[in-house]
């Protein structure tokens, strides 16, 4: 029988494990090396502090915060244009922000000379809010512009900063 012919002696078998163990050690070293390379790549690829707040890159928070501001905000406008602010505060438009009609003006606030704002397009501007629509709350002042003004622009009668006649 083939098996019995090749079966080694008992003590011979123990010795063989040590003498021919090269075929076990070599793949083991390759495996450890591969693990090492994996750990190195992982350390390089995963961003700094990933997971500090959760499963994401915390530096992203600061990147989003540093996006430029386009609308300067009420307080900035009023710092210079206090006359207009006073007129507005006395009327129905007291709670309408400057940039709601005049558009985004952070560029003007940062450098007033370089960016001069344009006057708003009154014909469309007023209508967006005050054109009659059944979906608007009943207490809100609305007109059918075609019947109301006869083609005249709103600001020929109403002062936009304090619109009451």
């Amino acid at each position: 029988m083939l098996h019995t012919a090749y079966r080694p002696e008992k003590e011979m078998g123990l010795r063989r494990i040590f003498t021919d163990s090269g075929h076990l050690v070599r793949p083991a070293v390759v495996l450890i090396a591969a693990l090492g390379i994996f750990l190195i790549i992982r350390a390089l690829v995963i961003p700094k502090a990933f997971g500090q707040y959760g499963h994401y890159r915390p530096a992203a928070l600061m990147e989003i915060r540093q996006r430029p501001i386009v609308y300067a905000g009420q307080d900035q406008c009023v710092m210079c244009h206090d006359d207009e602010a006073k007129t507005r505060a006395a009327g129905k438009h007291a709670h309408v922000a400057c940039e709601a009609c005049h558009g985004p003006l952070a560029s003007h606030a940062n450098d007033p000379a370089a960016h001069v704002p344009k006057l708003p397009d009154v014909a469309n501007l007023c209508r967006r809010c005050h054109e009659k629509d059944a979906a608007k709350p009943p207490g809100f002042p609305q007109v059918v512009t075609a019947e109301h003004s006869g083609g005249m622009t709103c600001n020929s009668c109403h002062q936009p900063h304090n619109p009451h006649l």
Partner: protein, 246 residues
């Protein structure tokens, strides 16, 4: 190539040392501690929307578009006009997101109202749960954000959002959404949409600020969130929301 056993052990050993050095490098180089005035732990942002104050002017949509350079035809916030009859499905329109307001309604004798929509900044956000790479997340102050440099553009989150608040940016091919103007609110400003709302229908709120009017508002009004049955933990509260709104 002939490699002796000795060589193998030496190379293997060297690689091991390198590997452990690389792994510890990751531990050492952490982010610098924040030293500025804004503390994320002190805030929990949300919004309140008063349906009865909305006039459908579209100021919020325009403001959002300008502030955040939203591409044409895409919206981070939009306004819907509901027209509800007793026996029929509600009719909803939002021409170009209401960026130029609405044309006058042709329907008469129906219940109609405007509903401004935006990201609900969910505390248990479905979009965050499905992101496979950690590109979208809830910030420590409660805002759902997207890391543009980490997003793969796989659009799982676009599908997962029950409110339809996400889109794939046509230029960057990454997902984009309302940031609740994170760059503004962390500097003490309000969001662009709230800044420009002429009637105060939408208001940025900070639930962790005990002086914020939101606490009074929630105590005295009947409020509802959108799709409460989805348990998203939405933080945009609507006052006087009609049952037909989805």
């Amino acid at each position: 190539m002939e490699i002796s056993r000795r060589d193998l052990f030496t190379i293997g050993g060297k690689l091991l040392v390198l590997a452990s050095a690389g792994a510890t490098l990751e531990q050492i180089t952490g982010a610098e501690p924040a030293t500025e005035a804004y503390k994320m732990a002190d805030h929990w942002w949300g919004m309140i929307v008063d349906i009865d104050k909305c006039i459908g002017c579209g100021n919020c949509v325009r403001a959002c578009s300008n502030e955040n350079h939203v591409p044409d035809g895409y919206f981070r916030t939009w306004v819907e006009r509901y027209q509800v009859t007793e026996d029929q499905q509600p009719q909803v329109d939002s021409p170009n997101g209401a960026i130029d307001g609405f044309p006058p309604s042709t329907h008469t004798g129906v219940k109609s109202f405007f509903v401004p929509k935006l990201c609900n900044q969910c505390a248990h956000s479905p979009c965050v749960q499905v992101c496979p790479v950690g590109a979208t997340f809830v910030s420590p102050d409660g805002v759902v954000l997207v890391d543009q440099s980490y997003c793969l553009g796989c659009r799982y989150c676009v599908q997962a959002c029950p409110y339809g608040c996400r889109y794939l940016h046509p230029d960057t091919k990454t997902v984009d959404k309302c940031t609740l103007c994170y760059h503004r609110i962390t500097q003490g400003l309000t969001t662009a949409c709230c800044e420009n709302c002429p009637t105060g229908a939408r208001q940025l709120v900070d639930f962790k600020n005990p002086k914020d009017p939101v606490h009074e508002f929630l105590r005295h009004n009947k409020v509802q969130i959108l799709k409460p049955y989805m348990a998203t933990g939405a933080k945009v509260y609507y006052k006087d929301l009609d049952g037909s709104v989805r």
